[in-house]
Symmetry: C2
Subunit: 213 residues, 2 copies
DNA sequence: TTGTGCGGATATGTATACATATGCAAGATG
DNA sequence: CATCTTGCATATGTATACATATCCGCACAA
């Protein structure tokens, strides 16, 4: 009786969209998806509604769902929002990190220094941001960030693969953020984190500019 | 063929929870609600899922929905999150408000000065915050704030009715925030807005402390 | 008396049938 | 020939029937 089917459909749809297999603007018809996944329309409906609330799908006329179009403008807003929320979390973390987490952060920096593979570094990067997010001790804000990040993930992924230059920059910025956190300088932390996220957006903007000239 | 039924159920459930008519911890059984509203389980299911995503309901064992319990700790996190997001929006608005919006803001202050009725002031307060939210030109962040606010609304409402003292304080703080925005001082705006939201929380914390001693 | 296990009751998950609204196309009419 | 109207096709919204898992109570045994 578990909700596994609907959850499963949702996850598969998210994967499809995030991986870019489902093109923005593509219609998400209940019947077609139900047939494709071999289930009835009911769990598909549920998954689509969750997609809408996650802002990965939107509704057009006839109440039909579509993969959400991402205009350059929307993406810029999204990254700005991520920057604001993540920097707020980091500022809180500056005063709230436990000793264990501080050591974790330093260990992550060390690990990052020894890593030249963009793929592997992506994991280290996640660990870094997750540690800060957890250290802020605010689950409401953390959940908010996760929501926002879900929508930028596709772009971040595309980004890291194309650009190894970003790796070195990221390393330096992580270093600076860590230092500010360890110094419990909330305002510096906030400002550095905001720039860090904005920096990761610049590349995305480039990709976007090349796609829609 | 509109989605009116499910939407309607959702709104009514939100109202019920926000108005405090549905007690936290109270089970939300599909069948019972369906009978209560005179519809089938299908739209009720949809409404409950939306409630869950809005964090107004949660699931227990047996996958049943309950009105979400709000511990003092959770509420504190929530208000902190609201403060961070709303202050971020205000900081952005400091540089992005249109001339029309600036004048609106000043008009709202004027209106607030002439208002001693807490009920009416609540509307003016909303208008003030909405103007800033809109002026930030970031719909993703604005939507985030709305999500968070939905969950604090019940407490804010309870609050304003009990305390007329808060009205004068709010007026002064709005004045200060407006001045910072008009001066395009993003950092001052951010800091003032954060305190403003935190201040509105203090009263909620008092109510909470009296309820759970 | 207490603990374990089985079975019924019940609530949720899924499938399907039916209702209804929207869009498109074809035909009639000016 | 253009435009409006009408009807059908199709997709979503809702209701209901069926499947299945969880919980509770009762009985039986240690």
């Amino acid at each position: 009786m578990t909700n596994r089917t609907a959850e499963n459909i949702f996850d598969r749809l998210v994967d499809g969209i995030v991986a870019g297999k489902m093109i923005p603007g593509e219609p998400l018809a209940e019947k077609a998806l139900a047939e494709q996944f071999g289930v009835s329309r009911t769990p598909v409906r549920e998954a689509l509604h969750r997609l809408e609330q996650s802002n990965l799908a939107e509704r057009g006329s006839r109440r039909a769902f579509f993969v959400r179009e991402m205009k350059a403008e929307d993406l810029a807003e999204l990254f700005e929002a991520v920057g604001e929320v993540e920097s707020a979390l980091a500022a809180l973390a500056a005063h709230r990190l436990t000793e264990v987490e501080r050591k974790t952060l330093m260990a992550i920096l060390e690990e990052g220094r020894a890593c030249d593979d963009p793929e592997a570094y992506s994991g280290i990067n996640k660990h870094f941001h997750n540690t800060i997010k957890a250290g802020a001790r605010n689950s409401a804000l953390a959940a908010t960030l996760e929501d926002l990040n879900l929508r930028t993930m596709a772009w971040r992924a595309a980004n890291f693969h194309e650009n190894t230059n970003r790796l070195a920059t990221s390393r330096v910025e992580h270093q600076a953020i860590t230092e500010a956190i360890l110094a419990q300088d909330a305002e510096a932390t906030r400002s550095l984190m905001r720039s860090h996220v904005a920096g990761s957006y610049v590349l995305v903007a480039d990709i976007l500019a090349r796609r829609e000239p």
